[in-house]
Symmetry: C2
Subunit: 245 residues, 2 copies
């Protein structure tokens, strides 16, 4: 429905894990870059959004992975701002291999945050119109993340300088890095993620103390549930479904 935009990426091996598969958090960064490039092309780049005192933030990701890109592979990422309502914009990303076969899709929900107040603002027509998305009334319900069960792992997380992005808070992709890091090295080598849901509740800024908690999912034997906590609040929740690698 909305305008489409495609960017080509060559996967450098240093963005891959020790088995040569692209780091999923970096894939998310590539996707978000693609939507940023579309915004630039349509004249509604970040500076324009900032002129309203606003910035894009992400509230949900829902990713389905058939196959992860490998080191040196060439992929395309296509993005499309499909629809929006008063508070949210719904965007789809499709990753294809060099044959044009779909490897990965991600549906993401974006919102606009007031930079000063650090609160959600409503979607402005000036910002969204160029994408030619469909205006809808309803709030789409994201697939529910299962509740956290008995923790199998709990980790203090040290926020690193580079975890912080231009919005002065922890970048959305970094939460997934923290969540996946709730598994052991052996588990991460032997499994591959096939589905991934993240819900962002509250931003985290540099200097906060952060804990990551991991449990098995009560809904699926091959799923794990992840909470990222700070100041006794659940800042982000995640669900990852795994297949043997």
């Amino acid at each position: 429905m909305g305008k489409q935009f495609t960017e080509v990426f060559h996967i450098p091996y240093y963005d891959c894990d020790t088995t040569g598969s692209l780091k999923v958090p970096t894939l998310i960064k590539m996707m978000i870059k693609t939507s940023g490039e579309q915004s630039k092309e349509l004249g509604v780049h970040n500076d324009f959004v900032s002129s309203f005192g606003l910035t894009w933030v992400i509230t949900h990701h829902d990713m389905t992975i058939e196959r992860l890109p490998k080191a040196d592979e060439q992929i395309t990422i296509t993005t499309e701002a499909e629809s929006y309502n008063k508070y949210f914009c719904y965007r789809r990303f499709t990753v294809r291999d060099s044959e044009g076969d779909t490897m990965i899709t991600m549906d993401s929900t974006f919102a606009l945050m007031d930079v000063e107040a650090r609160k959600m603002g409503s979607v402005r027509e000036e910002i969204i119109a160029p994408f030619e998305s469909e205006k809808i009334k309803r709030i789409k319900r994201a697939e529910k993340i299962p509740p956290l069960a008995e923790p199998i792992r709990q980790k203090e997380i040290g926020i690193r300088y580079w975890d912080i992005d231009g919005n002065k808070h922890v970048n959305n992709a970094v939460y997934l890095e923290w969540m996946m890091d709730g598994l052991t090295f052996k588990e991460l080598i032997e499994r591959k993620p096939v589905r991934m849901l993240i819900k962002y509740n509250k931003e985290i800024r540099y200097g906060q103390s952060v804990i990551g908690v991991t449990s098995q999912s009560i809904t699926n034997d091959h799923g794990t549930v992840h909470h990222i906590l700070s100041n006794n609040e659940i800042c982000a929740e995640g669900y990852i479904e795994w297949a043997e690698g």
Copy 2:
């Protein structure tokens, strides 16, 4: 003296810090990728090196930074294996902007590690000959890293899954990430590194507990000294000289 090889890089903003400057650890990864591409071109790629039971490791980096690349900038990295002796190979990297002006240089020392024994091996002619480097007798002395003074910061470091590379140990660029993370967010925003020395003494593998210690340098008011410790051993030492950003 040796053959030169050049690769072009476009800097994605997600490899930059919150001020839009390229992450220095990622720059190192780009440099090492460039030397890897040269090895491939010359038919002495990693698989060939592995066939001798060996893998390349790095013992020293010495980087001088005039200006860091910015998000969306195009740069070239040129590398040249200048010389080698029985145990070490000396390689230079030069980063240039789109005008051809030099922004950064790095001199690095490589050695070959026996993968099974995790010990240094001697340089084999089959592996080094294609680079047409000069064979030298002497061991080059790297510039000395000043001793650690009174610690100003000490941090436990949690090794993340992606800190580990194909050699099953912490990637050389990650140490710099840990060292720079010994400064505060405010310091890292206000300063830029202009010189960087790292000496690698001992590899670190997943699951080890690691501590990073930072002090001012006794040799230079604008310098910091960094030790990365594990099992009471200094696994890496670093010196970073800073200028106001």
